[in-house]
Symmetry: D2
């Protein structure tokens, strides 16, 4: 299979189940909503050593937010609901409450699973907190130096999928990297997904496990071009660099759509030679995404 | 005391000791160094509930970095060396190693305290890691999908100060916020300091302790303008909003310089009425910064 | 009439007819399409002394562009077709042809009026130019240092409207300016419109004519708050600053929608007191936009 | 000669004399100074068909500007003083006066040649303009909707040089483009210079003249890789794309420094194979910049 002359390998991505919450951040301007979103989703690439996987889902117009202000939706993901509750408490409490002019709304008000985040954060008001309402939502209003911080009482979460992925392999580093940037820009428009790694890109795609027992993940040597001489790397001669795009999403459909638009976008960049994907014999998880089926 | 017609209150900021490490991130372009830096310093506002306090110190020219590529210096801060070592391992391993085209260098090679970060991260190479050198520094080279990731064997840290601060109080929210933005932009030029909160600004300045025993910090009600009616807020009538700038630094001198340029910059914005600072009867820490002395 | 507590004055904006062309710029990444778009639309605020009025209409996804690459639509406006043709030639030739990796497509292929822009620019190829096709469009391919520049043979233009506008008046400069930023961000989502002034905002709203015969436009002294003492400024006491948003569009409907979302967005910002608009007894033009009707 | 394994061709750049003025733009924040600067320097790549060559020279700290606010220096260049005066009048009057919160200061107060720009623009005040002073400079104060616009009475200009240049040639488009970005970022730090093309980069480097008599410049076919088959392009087989960096500056020394740091920076990017430069047998101008001498 080829797109724009780029080979699409007959392979599949392997993902795993994760819990996903959405926080709608509003602020006086889009700029300040985005600053809060960046801080709240930072240090959030992989649950291997980060306290959560997190990213910016999309920018909201003033017509789309509960309070009619500019906004940004972020997704926060953890392996279990207990960890996810902790992530919501600490990331909203430390990165959104503290950010100028923000409010934090429940981005999944209809989800079955709901956490009483606002009801816990409100103690920061030290007795001066009050109830409030906006757009039929129950909020807590905390007095702060610049006015009041509004946070919804509950935040919902759903079963999602982490680790949707594809590899972009090119004739050199800059062609693969440029294509990765184009892919991430395209995926930004797909609701329900994030690309949690730095700038949306993984430079050091890993395999499950390692020769060192204390390591859960290690470099995927078969796709490391500097190991061609040793015969360890099995990449064809003309491929000299690759990047991985990892996608978390609220549903299988969202991830498939992100993979579809991301791969198509990557294939527009000169020097891209092949699209592949990462799978690990089921050691990572049960969610499989076949490239040819998704792009067919 | 007045600057540009703005009252400088006769008060002081109260800070506390913290351990500080510097990581020099280089990449193929300034853009990608910055993307890595943002991810690596995110979720890093306050050690109350964040795993570290972190921020971007400054952008480096190609002449200033060990490998001659564009770069960014970040500071990472924790209450003790053990926590700081963990922060370095996880933030370099998850946010810099994974970022496209980056390398990570020791930003404090002459510090007495050094952590063997590279020597631990190199196991990710799964046996294919090698030693390397650059600019007389000992590095580990890990094969990855896009080439090699270079990370220095050791990263140094020093005793620094957290919690340097000042308050910007204005006639309304937008004047105080604009002044806070101007102050943060000015402080970006002061080497040895970071402003770790979202966009460099704290909207919800806190006091030490709370009426709830389980809370270490709570809203500083005396400076919360919505509590004026209750008589709880002691701000003068004309002040209707405030923001706090919190500064961490590698030395007392660096924080003083940051406070000086930040306060002067804030006082250029129309609608700013007063500069104050946060102190807590010594409950927070021993480092005091008197506004009049610093600006005198 | 009030929105969110902000008075909407019972007045109207006065606009004038203008010719409008759309250029679709594509590039290897959204970043480079945007760089070309900024250069091509710069020095383009008012035809009083600029060679055109120009601005960025919207960012296009990879699915929306003729060549499947990231793109940006820009609008270029002049008082007559002759001037507009010159603007297209010089702005495409100097700012898009010269920009890295770009192509330039006709953004109004169905317009009755078409200019042979590509057919004139192709002489830059110095005999090495060729015909090409993409998405059923006729293109010229010019060999350049980095490959080929593709430009469509024809570019279309329509009768549009310039000078759609509203005033945002606030208690101080920062509140009015922040609201102007929010309004411009909201208008960015309205297809068929641009806000051609710097950052989308006019700081120095003018009236038609002047006491000096050589000047076509001069400051609108009635809304200049520093002239309150002289009795020249007729603003109420509590209004201390204002900004104007000027909107050009391809149709009356597009401008009305931009005014609607822009005004609503501006009214979410604390400190905004009144929305007004600029009109000049018909001296500027025949297109009138009544605020109450648009918002009703 | 080689830098980092990249061949530096034994050739030289050819530039030509131009008149250069500097405008110091200040604003309430760096963000708004930059917005004004972008608009004021847009549509300013080449005097062949642009009304000026213009660009952002550097960002100024609050300590460096006449009014103590954030600022940006821009350079505006024309072939003669008459055209330059027109450019200053129209670009300051239409792009800085109209931008929110800005002031415009003379960036070359000691130059022999001075234009009475402020004294002409002040008529926009329609009789309400006044004199003012700041930092020992004579200013005009014009009442506008958001307060007062301050503009210095005079703006100075000097004899400068345009067309300083070098070519970055790489194994493919993305490697050459990435290197061009790195070079431009490095040159941003060299005071006294600008790179006036889109994003600082020229994609369509030209030669002087054409087979068509009406064209002053046309594509430089010898360095166009798609013309290799015809034998017209003389590039070696392994070079498949190139970009040109064009530098204007206030002095020969400034341009040499920009070329030095720009070339060195470009040579850090993988896939860059050769640095060359554009010269035209003296048809363009008398200023020659030998690569080996500059880098020696």
């Amino acid at each position: 299979m080829e797109i724009n002359g780029v080979e699409i390998e007959d392979t599949f991505a392997e993902g795993f189940p994760i819990k996903v919450a959405r926080v709608t951040i509003t602020a006086i301007t889009e700029h300040w909503a985005m600053e809060a979103a960046r801080e709240a989703t930072g240090f959030g690439t992989s649950v291997i050593m980060c306290p959560a996987e997190a990213g910016i889902e999309r920018i909201l117009s003033v017509e789309e937010t509960p309070d009619g202000r500019p906004g940004v939706d972020v997704l926060i993901c953890n392996m279990g609901y207990k960890n996810l509750e902790n992530s919501l408490l600490s990331r909203i409490g430390q990165c959104i409450l503290t950010a100028p002019t923000t409010a934090a709304f429940n981005g999944m008000p209809k989800a079955e699973k709901q956490f009483a985040i606002g009801k816990k954060l409100e103690y920061f008001g030290d007795g001066y907190q009050k109830g409030a309402e906006c757009d039929d939502r129950k909020l807590c209003a905390l007095p702060i130096m610049s006015g009041e911080f509004l946070v919804e009482e509950s935040f919902g979460a759903v079963d999602g999928i982490a680790g949707g992925n594809f590899y972009i392999q090119g004739e050199n580093q800059t062609s693969a990297l440029t294509a990765a940037e184009v892919a991430v820009d395209a995926i930004k428009r797909v609701q329900g997904t994030i690309t949690p790694f730095p700038g949306g890109i993984v430079a050091s795609g890993s395999k499950v496990g390692s020769r060192y027992k204390f390591l859960k993940a290690s470099t995927n040597e078969k796709v490391c071009p500097t190991l061609k001489k040793e015969g360890v790397c099995t990449l064809p001669e003309e491929i000299n660099a690759g990047y991985e795009i990892v996608i978390n999403g609220v549903s299988r459909e969202a991830i498939e759509e992100a993979m579809r638009v991301g791969i198509r976008a990557a294939c527009t960049v000169p020097g891209v030679l092949r699209i592949s994907a990462g799978n690990f014999d089921g050691k990572l998880g049960p969610h499989l995404f076949n490239l040819h089926e998704i792009l067919g």
